[in-house]
């Protein structure tokens, strides 16, 4: 008899718990900050995917006849088959005659790829190291000293150092931005693990002989999901900025790939006369990063109320 009621209570509480978890996500999705950021990001994603269909031309196409045109200038383009076409360069052209509008739209791809890739890789790597550090006592000391050391090197400087080792390329840049972010994820995961492992339900699980791996995946890992999503959004935002900075300094993505940082780097020399080379990619960049940051704030407020109180 008692077994039956226990089971009833149990399934009821499980249902309640899962409903609570679901409602938290529903709440997050309804947060105005998350909606605003999400919508802007979806637009950017659409721009990135649909770049070839949005009235763009080849972003690497050099046109010596149409160099340094101000935004809104009408340009006569000669196509490969000898026909000439008139089109308005709404964002102007750069000093090689490349169309800035097309370059900015295609540049969205690089920035979004960098943001997503850096966030995923640094969260994944940081999660593994953080779980080990939080759970295996003897490894903790060594791992955390290394992380402290890495955090002592200012982030952008560490990225610059790493790029200098292997020369620029998309993968190198992603890796260089990931490394400074990993220690921050490790610290976050480790602190969650250290708190959770003292909880009665984890002690209970240990006492009934749950294997370590099950313990980690079933009981500890789920607790890290919400803070990691929040952290991941902020990492994505700062990664996009970091790529732009590296490319702007001339040590990031190779110049032939149109990225916002590259377009701006190219526009530096003639900035006084033709500010549009920096203005338009700058607006796109700021808008994207702003959207991610606002979304991150909204996610933090709903998913991680403890953390939002601190900041």
């Amino acid at each position: 008899m008692s077994a039956i009621t226990e089971e009833v209570v149990d399934s009821a509480s499980i249902a309640a718990a899962s409903a609570k978890r679901k409602s938290l996500w529903a709440l997050a999705v309804r947060n105005p900050a998350v909606i605003f950021g999400g919508v802007v990001l979806l637009v950017m994603l659409a721009v990135a995917i649909l770049a070839p269909f949005l009235g763009t031309v080849d972003p690497t196409r050099i046109d010596p006849a149409a160099r340094n045109k101000k935004p809104g200038t009408e340009i006569t383009m000669r196509l490969d088959d000898g026909q000439t076409v008139k089109r308005v360069a709404i964002f102007g052209t750069d000093s090689l005659g490349r169309d800035v509008y097309s370059r900015v739209l295609y540049g969205t791809r690089v920035s979004l790829v960098i943001g997503v890739a850096v966030a995923i890789v640094s969260v994944a790597v940081g999660l593994v190291i953080g779980l080990i550090s939080g759970y295996i006592r003897w490894a903790d000391g060594i791992i955390m000293r290394i992380m402290d050391g890495l955090m002592a090197i200012p982030g952008i400087l560490l990225a610059i150092a790493l790029v200098s080792i292997w020369r620029a390329g998309l993968i190198t840049v992603i890796f260089a931005i990931v490394v400074p972010d990993v220690p921050r994820v490790v610290r976050l995961v480790r602190s969650v693990v250290l708190t959770v492992r003292e909880e009665p339900y984890v002690e209970g699980a240990i006492s009934v002989g749950t294997p370590t791996w099950t313990l980690m995946f079933r009981h500890i890992l789920p607790n890290t999901v919400a803070p990691l999503i929040v952290q991941g959004t902020f990492i994505a935002a700062s990664a996009i900025l970091a790529e732009a900075i590296l490319s702007f300094l001339g040590i990031g993505i190779p110049p032939e790939i149109p990225s916002w940082g590259n377009i701006m780097a190219e526009g530096r020399t003639l900035f006084r006369v033709f500010p549009h080379n920096i203005l338009y990619p700058g607006i796109f960049l700021a808008l994207t990063v702003l959207a991610i940051n606002i979304m991150g704030d909204g996610l933090r407020d709903t998913l991680d109320p403890k953390m939002s109180k601190k900041v």
Partner: protein, 313 residues
Amino acid sequence: MLDFIARRLVAIIPVLAVVAVFVFLMLRLTPGDPAAVIAGDNATSDQIADIREKLGLNEPIWTQFAIWIGNVLQGNFGESFFFKKTVAELIAQRIEPTLALAICTLIIAVSVAVPLGVMAAYRHGSLLDRFVMGFAVMGFSVPVFVIGYLLIYVFAIELGWLPVQGYTRIGVNFWGFLERMVLPSVTLAVVYIALIARITRASVLEVLNEDYIRTARAKGLSNRVVLMRHALRNAAVPILTVIGIGIALLIGGAVVTESVYGLPGLGRLTVEAVLSRDFPTIQTVILLFSVVYVVINLLIDVGYTLFDPRIRY
């Protein structure tokens, strides 16, 4: 207290050791012969052999590290083959603009951000509060160089109030120095203001709910005294902490700002060194900036006791 300082000093040794190992390994991780990498493209084979001998490249890696760290501790950072100078000379030459930029930025950032944060907390939910929070998010989202070029465009090109780029040494012409320092410092201060204002607001807001604030008000103290002496002083620790952590942002931002404004400082040097693959210089600059960052944060840790006598070590 002395005991605490001693313990903190000991604690930074492993941190700096990790930094040193990383900086040492940088050159070893680059593809190719380290001696050839250092010597640059125009080196003769004699020069390369000479460098190989100096760095002990024929010895095991532990000995190489010992030789390198021994040199560094004696202030011998090697020679830059690209700039044809010792790295120590190069840094001495380039340190003034960076130091000036950092100090001006710190002064501007703290004197703008702290009052802004306090007022935002005091008038919680007001228009000013929303403005400060909005500015904080914006400050983190717009890259330093975009802010820089925007300011150059408005204040130097359109209005013509300030020079566009360049640097005048402080000893040569003080007004010229100040004129050229305004835009770079304001540019670099934006992200720092965002960071400090946000933390100031949050920590003052928390303190304002405390009983002793109500007591102070009940005693009939003026708002100014309550905010400055009771609230801000008790909120000082997190604000100081974030100023210390923000030094990393400041250093990263200086690299970019110096490039935008053509300041011949350490940040520009870093970029030039990376572009010319001048490893002795890159290694030293990273080591130097990291040591500065760690030491400033150590000083701030020690400084807490001055602001908050409740903290005893």
